[in-house]
């Protein structure tokens, strides 16, 4: 059982403020990892490090055993809470963007049969997230839930090794959120995705995830609270949907 993504002794520091300390994580292919924790515990910092948006001050990350470049790339897809779709492109062109970038390095636009193939692929992807009726709308004309569906379709068309979700449903109302939970679960199964999701909704973390990580500070110095960073204090594998038999309910450990 080799890990898809492996974080080794990751530290994130801003000046003398330690945000994350000694984070060691192995994430298996096909898992759905929820990250929870109090505000300011470095959930988003950890996600940004994995995404490559932020460079850890210490430690290294391996994807398939190879060191990751500290820069965003198509191997890691992302859906943010807001602003992750392009307002100047229609739904269809938002989705086809990833294909155009890969196939036309210079003009990032496709023509002829390649364009038709890319558009067809994008339409299939949009069908999978339930946006097949809205191909020609602009993001500003859509609800928050539809925009997040689009952001997911946009990311998935690149077939990323890991899909990172940064509080993706935090701004949605409860009914829509339930629909989105069903959608992301279905996509996770259908496309055998590996998902890492940051959330502050405990129920969401436990109902979607196959593994729940809790980030918090292990130690506190009352005189200099910023000098200790957060790390994974709980690492709970959830059995209910895990295909792997080795996971058991009693494996609630401190810092696995």
């Amino acid at each position: 059982m080799t890990a898809l993504l492996s974080l080794q002794n990751i530290w994130v520091e801003y000046g003398d403020k330690v945000v994350l300390e000694r984070v060691n994580l192995d994430i298996e292919a096909g898992s759905f990892v929820s990250i929870i924790g109090p505000s300011g515990a470095g959930k988003s910092s950890l996600l940004r490090v994995i995404l490559g948006q932020e460079i850890p001050t210490r430690g290294q990350m391996l994807l398939d055993g190879l060191p990751l470049k500290p820069e965003c790339g198509p191997d890691r897809g992302v859906v943010f809470q807001r602003y992750s779709v392009f307002p100047h492109l229609s739904v269809l062109h938002n989705t086809v963007f990833g294909l155009e970038c890969a196939q036309a390095p210079l003009i990032a636009r496709l023509f002829g049969s390649r364009r038709r193939a890319a558009l067809a692929e994008a339409e299939d992807m949009l069908d999978a997230v339930g946006l097949s009726d809205s191909l020609h709308l602009y993001p500003a004309q859509m609800s928050g839930g539809m925009q997040q569906r689009l952001a997911i379709a946009q990311a998935l068309i690149k077939r990323p090794r890991i899909l990172l979700l940064d509080e993706p449903f935090g701004a949605l109302d409860p009914g829509i959120r339930a629909d989105m939970h069903a959608l992301i679960t279905r996509l996770w199964r259908d496309y055998s995705l590996t998902v890492i999701m940051v959330t502050h909704d405990l129920r969401e973390a436990f109902s979607l995830g196959t593994r729940v990580l809790t980030l918090d500070k292990r130690r506190r110095d009352p005189h200099a609270p910023h000098r200790f960073g957060a790390t994974a204090v709980y690492d709970l594998p959830l059995t209910k949907r895990m295909p792997a038999p080795e996971a058991t309910a009693d494996s609630i450990t401190l810092d696995a």
Binding site: L51, Q53, E71, C72, G73, P74, R76, G77, V78, F80, R82, Y83, S84, V85, F86, P87, H88, L89, F97, G98, E100, C101, A102, P105, L106, I107, A108, Y138, P139, A140, Q141, A151, Q154, A155, K158, P160
Partner: protein
């Protein structure tokens, strides 16, 4: 009902907007008529008839010296200078603004230079331009460009730099290179802002055009106004000023319309 909540219907808003203009025209006519009643040769506030006859000479009778219809030659010369000035400024705002806004190393290198140029009063550079480019068209166009391009560059660059970081990150996770982020994410979103910057620069561009024409020129709307000032010819100055205002309004309307037409996504609800 509170005034902040009042909604004005379209017909009413045209009526309301026209009222102060009509009132001002009426006021002018009353004062002009009373001055003419006292002195039938008054030149300061000419009556519409005087303006029409003075203008018809410029509009329809060829100038004996050059053989041109002066009004149209002035308009053409001024619009050409303005067009070149605005065109060069817009193009450079797009190119330089895009580079400055999207690429932090370029911004760090050239940002202070652009800011430095932007704070120089352009009219102070006019002597340098006249010395460098002579008294021809080049110096006038250059004054407009130096006057408005730095502002437009900074506006476009700031707009691009303020695009949500999430979008830029997202584009990279979709495989976009720096170049692709610039041409597919930053550039299209800068376009409506660029048109907005052109609209805001129209006023200063006219100021620099008229200044350059007033100082050294032999044709142009600004040149004509300053020339006939020597003869106290308000009957030509006032129609020329009105014509400049009309041209400026038409450009503004055209820019607004084209922005809505070309970039509907940037104009909220009404697409």
């Amino acid at each position: 009902m509170r005034w902040v909540n009042r909604r004005i219907r379209r017909g009413n808003s045209i009526l309301l907007g026209a009222a102060p203009i009509a009132l001002l025209v009426l006021l002018y006519l009353v004062v002009a008529a009373s001055r003419h009643a006292a002195n039938s040769n008054d030149k300061i506030l000419p009556l519409p008839g005087d303006m029409a006859s003075a203008m018809s000479a410029l509009l329809f009778q060829p100038d004996p010296l050059s053989g041109q219809l002066i009004f149209w030659a002035d308009t053409f010369a001024s619009l050409q200078r303005l067009g070149f000035g605005l065109g060069i400024s817009t193009l450079s705002a797009l190119l330089v603004g895009l580079l400055l806004g999207a690429l932090p190393p370029i911004r760090a290198t050239f940002g202070p230079l652009v800011t430095g140029i932007a704070v120089i009063p352009p009219i102070a550079l006019l002597p340098i331009l006249f010395i460098a480019f002579g008294l021809g068209e080049m110096a006038k166009v250059a004054l407009i460009v130096i006057g408005i391009a730095p502002f437009m560059i900074r506006d476009v660059a700031a707009h691009i730099a303020a695009l949500p970081r999430e979008q830029i990150i997202k584009a990279q996770t979709l495989g976009a290179s720096s170049w692709q982020v610039m041409v597919r994410v930053a550039l299209p979103q800068a376009m409506p802002r660029l048109i907005q910057a052109v609209r805001l620069s129209l006023g200063p561009a006219w100021v620099f055009l008229i200044s350059a024409e007033a100082i050294a020129s032999d044709v142009g709307l600004g040149y004509r106004i300053f020339l006939v000032r020597r003869y106290l010819s308000m009957d030509i100055i006032l129609p020329y000023v009105a014509w400049i205002a009309l041209l400026a309004i038409m450009m503004d309307v055209l820019l607004t319309w084209s922005s809505r037409r070309l970039f509907p996504w940037a104009h909220g609800a009404e697409h």
